[in-house]
């Protein structure tokens, strides 16, 4: 039986992508396989955590309290992408079991989560577009999408869909910067970071306040996070004006970016070591004389016994010293050093994903069709440990089942971490779901009490 599956894998090619980068992706055994997908979502294996996802998206409205809105879950939009790129939007489910049934009868390649609407997405056509019962989003997590391909102009190890241990740290730094800001600046408490399955991460901010934000407010937060304004049409893609950094940027710089730039980044990317590389940086200095001065120093020191990393560090010091002494020449030089650090290290989020409530985003614990990897949660307080290339793949999980190696029912009392996915699910529950549900239930209870209190008053005379 194993042989048969293997043959199927080898004969199933991904004909749909003409994109050249895809052609270079090896290891057909690790790729996606529709039969494995059926095992993942289906029957006895219980790999996909249906009830956890349902509990999360119910936000405490489990019907056990009179203040619960039993229709809340049913108003959430899901979308399925099926095997032949068939795309089904506006799917909604009354409860966990109808969601499970739908997934088990469709085996979607991708599941997206949308907003909670004013009415069941399934029944939206029954409501007119004017008047009081309009079909419109009413709640949606504040979400962020960080994709390594947006950093292509500053990473030299990979490009396009590839990611490796040298460039992944850019994502790690992005998580740290954004997470710190979400908690310290915006005061959010219930934040889920998820691996996107191939080359980036998604962030779900689930506080009630966050879910009720308007598009304008989401846009404001996204813009607050935006620093990089670049494309191939401009050379200076980060322009830090003013006489100091905003406290958010200053903290990010001091706590994360500066150290990363001067340490790990030099080691993995050696951004000054060749002429092509350092010319790109010189182009960010808006003074021709300074450019020439540095160019002169570097062109002539080509022969050196130092490593690429050491050369880069030396040149960085030279650049800093030169700019320090000359920064009063023009306002655009004032924070040139910081601009360079920000260009290479500061998070680049996809603004469009965050700005609108109706934007769909892939569900956690999906399997990525190109890599076979599960979209597992990432611990923001330990994100240095996360390795995208060590995330369990679909075939590994199936292998594990076949060899009968572990219990598939993840029990919180179980001490044995033998199941590959168990650790992720445990983390999801203990770090995210439980605190979230506790706080949701408190909120449901207190707003219920307020409502009761109010109506009691209206009867008193």
């Amino acid at each position: 039986e194993r042989k048969m599956i293997r043959e199927e894998i080898e004969s199933r090619e991904d004909e749909k992508m003409i994109d050249a980068a895809q052609m270079n992706n090896p290891e057909p055994e690790e790729c996606f396989n529709v039969n494995y997908l059926r095992i993942y979502y289906g029957g006895k294996s219980n790999l996909f955590p249906y009830s956890d996802i349902h509990k999360w998206l119910s936000y405490g409205h489990d019907g056990k309290h009179p203040g619960c809105d039993e229709y809340y879950f049913g108003r959430r939009e899901f979308s399925f992408t099926l095997e032949n790129d068939v795309y089904l939007r506006y799917k909604s489910f009354k409860n966990a079991s109808s969601m499970e049934d739908a997934i088990k009868s469709n085996f979607p390649y991708k599941i997206d989560i949308g907003a909670v609407y004013s009415v069941d997405p399934d029944k939206r056509h029954a409501y007119s577009q004017t008047g009081t019962n309009v079909f419109t989003p009413v709640e949606r997590e504040l979400v962020f999408d960080i994709d390594i391909t947006d950093y292509d102009d500053v990473r030299y190890c990979c490009s396009g869909a590839d990611v490796c241990s040298k460039c992944w740290p850019l994502i790690t730094v992005a998580i740290k910067v954004i997470h710190t800001s979400l908690t310290e600046d915006f005061g959010f408490k219930h934040i889920l970071w998820v691996f996107s399955g191939r080359r980036g991460v998604h962030c779900w901010v689930c506080d009630p306040k966050a879910r009720r934000m308007t598009n304008e407010q989401r846009s404001a937060v996204a813009e607050y996070f935006r620093v990089y304004k670049g494309n191939e049409n401009n050379a200076r893609k980060v322009a830090l004006m003013g006489y100091s950094l905003h406290p958010f940027l200053a903290r990010s710089y001091v706590d994360y970016l500066k150290g990363f730039f001067e340490g790990e980044l030099q080691a993995t990317q050696s951004i000054f070591s060749t002429k092509d590389k350092y010319e790109k940086i010189l182009a960010m200095i808006s003074d021709e004389d300074i450019q020439s001065e540095l160019r002169g120093k570097w062109e002539n020191s080509a022969r050196s016994s130092l490593s690429e990393e050491a050369i880069s560090l030396v040149r960085w010091e030279q650049l800093k010293n030169t700019l320090q002494s000359k920064k009063h020449k023009a306002p655009t030089l004032r924070m040139c050093v910081e601009e360079i650090v920000f260009t290479f290290t500061y998070p680049r989020i996809d603004l469009e994903v965050s700005k609108q409530m109706n934007h769909l985003l892939k569900a956690p614990f999906c399997v990525h069709p190109k890599t076979g990897r599960v979209c597992v949660p990432i611990d923001p307080n330990n994100c240095d440990e996360f390795d995208p290339l060590a995330v369990p793949t679909l075939s590994q999980l199936i292998e594990e089942i076949n060899s009968g190696g572990s219990r598939m029912d993840v029990d919180d009392d179980e001490d044995s971490d033998t199941s590959l996915l168990a650790k992720s699910i445990k983390f999801f529950r203990s770090s995210f779901l439980e605190p979230l549900l506790k706080s949701c239930k408190e909120e449901i209870e207190s707003s219920y009490k307020t409502k009761i209190g109010k109506s009691k008053d209206s009867f008193s005379w």
Binding site: E184, K209, G230, M241
Partner: protein, 473 residues
């Protein structure tokens, strides 16, 4: 407003010594003559149109303050302060009635009234501003004592991060003076309000405030953001209610009296949206390359060239160029053929049909909620945010100087013409820069100013056709 009668108006009892800015929270029990109903509205429309023009020309906030001041004095002033206040209130409510009737009108009204409010607010002194904040009934307190102390350093950082001394001034002052000057002008303000960050989205977006644990610390001088958000939210809700009332009762009841006036007023001042093709905008596929070189504004030319070069454009580019082409008269079938021809060179025709055709049909109102989307105006394009791999946006704003000069050179500008354009760019007058480009390319003047890419196209076609009426241009 229930109160329209053809009788003499009773004088208001308000004793108003300073020109007060009403919040238009409720329709006041005033009476107004039928003639004044229309005249007041027209005067206010002149003000709102002036605001719209000023914004379209990319005027900065200080310039807009002056524009609003002048417009108000010209059209809305009255020797009797209470008469002036009445006209203010009445005209607002009349126009609200006129402009509540479609999404497009509502959006315009909301934007312009909010901008008008913003600049009138900015023109008041601090005490008057605080009074207005009070009128909104906002529960936000000033930060004092130990809390203020603990924030002072970071508040100072915020102020300095926004500090703007113009480059020319810096060159004239030596280093020591700059530091001293900095110290003087970047002091932390005396009063800060602690408000939820959601209340001041524009300050958050611009990183103009310190934010901590969900609270934004808004300086006295930034109060305008706070009230403008409130104002806009209130007017937005009011428009929906007014529309409902209009549809259910007023329109029918007033069909012999006010309704004709209301309907006439709405067509007066909204600019063309280029959603319908005119005689100057009707191109077909075979003309498109030629027409792109002869009549496209720089933003669209750039997108078009990149599309031909890369056989691909990212979403922002597809929207900006796609809707422009629709406005220029490209029919849906031709559009599909055009994009398909390009994209299939990169991703294959199958993938085009699966992933991109839907979007094009969506733009033409054939999918989804079937809105017939209108091409983007300059204001929208200028305020977009092209990122890595994008080519949309406004080249006058988003290109580096070198790239812009090269592009203008390819359009045939002389070095003298280019300098004029670059001068406008440096002063952030992007639409004026585009207008100057237009004037240089076609050797004519454009008094109105460019505020829409399709306008550029149509004006260009007009000129070219008048020169060689027979040949396709």
């Amino acid at each position: 407003m229930e109160v329209i009668r053809s009788q003499k108006r009773t004088a208001s009892n308000d004793v108003v010594s300073n020109p007060k800015i009403p919040l238009y929270l409720t329709a006041p029990p005033l009476e107004v003559r039928l003639e004044e109903f229309e005249l007041f509205a027209i005067d206010r429309l002149r003000v709102l149109k002036g605001v719209s023009d000023g914004l379209a020309r990319g005027k900065n906030p200080k310039e807009m303050d002056d524009v609003v001041d002048a417009l108000w004095k010209e059209h809305m002033r009255h020797s009797d302060a209470s008469e002036m206040l009445n006209k203010d209130i009445i005209s607002h409510f009349v126009i609200r009635l006129v402009y509540c009737r479609s999404d497009e009108l509502k959006k315009w009204f909301l934007s312009m009234e909010t901008a008008l409010f913003r600049h009138r607010f900015r023109l008041r002194n601090f005490e008057a501003q605080r009074a207005i904040v009070g009128e909104f009934g906002l529960p936000y307190k000033a930060v004092t004592g130990a809390e203020l102390e603990s924030l002072k350093e970071r508040l100072g950082q915020v102020v300095r991060s926004l500090g703007q001394i113009s480059p020319s001034v810096v060159n004239d002052i030596c280093c020591v003076s700059v530091c001293f000057f900095s110290f003087l002008s970047f002091a932390v303000e005396a009063v800060y309000y602690k408000v939820p960050f959601e209340e001041v989205p524009d300050l958050v977006a611009g990183r103009r405030v310190l934010i901590q644990k969900g609270h934004a610390f808004v300086a006295g001088s930034q109060l305008v953001s706070l009230v403008v958000t409130q104002f806009r939210s209130h007017i937005s809700k009011a428009l929906i209610l007014t529309n409902r009332k209009w549809m259910t009762t007023i329109r029918e009841r007033e069909k012999d009296r006010l309704t004709p006036i209301v309907e006439a007023l709405s067509t007066t001042y909204v600019g063309p949206d280029y959603s319908q093709s005119s005689e100057y905008a009707d191109i077909s596929l075979k003309d498109i390359d030629q027409v792109s070189k002869s009549s496209f504004p720089l933003c669209m030319r750039h997108l078009f060239e990149k599309l031909r070069e890369d056989h691909h454009l990212k979403h922002g580019g597809r929207m900006q160029l796609g809707l422009f082409l629709k406005g220029v008269g490209l029919k849906l079938d031709d559009a599909l053929a055009f994009w398909r021809a390009e994209f299939s060179k990169k991703v294959g025709s199958e993938r085009f049909d699966k992933e991109y055709a839907y979007g094009i049909r969506h733009n033409y109102g054939k999918e989804g909620k079937r809105t017939d989307y209108t091409p983007y105006a300059c204001q929208k394009i200028i305020s977009s945010a092209p990122g890595a791999g994008d080519h949309h946006g406004c080249p006058y704003r988003h290109f580096s100087e070198d790239n812009l000069r090269a592009a203008l050179g390819r359009m045939g500008l002389s070095s003298r013409g280019m300098e004029d354009v670059m001068d406008k760019v440096r002063n952030k007058h992007f639409q004026l820069a585009c207008t100057l480009t237009f004037e240089a390319v076609y050797g004519t003047s454009c008094d109105v100013g460019i505020n829409h890419p399709n306008q550029y196209f149509e004006e260009s076609q007009k000129i070219l056709k008048s020169k060689t009426p027979a040949a396709p241009v």
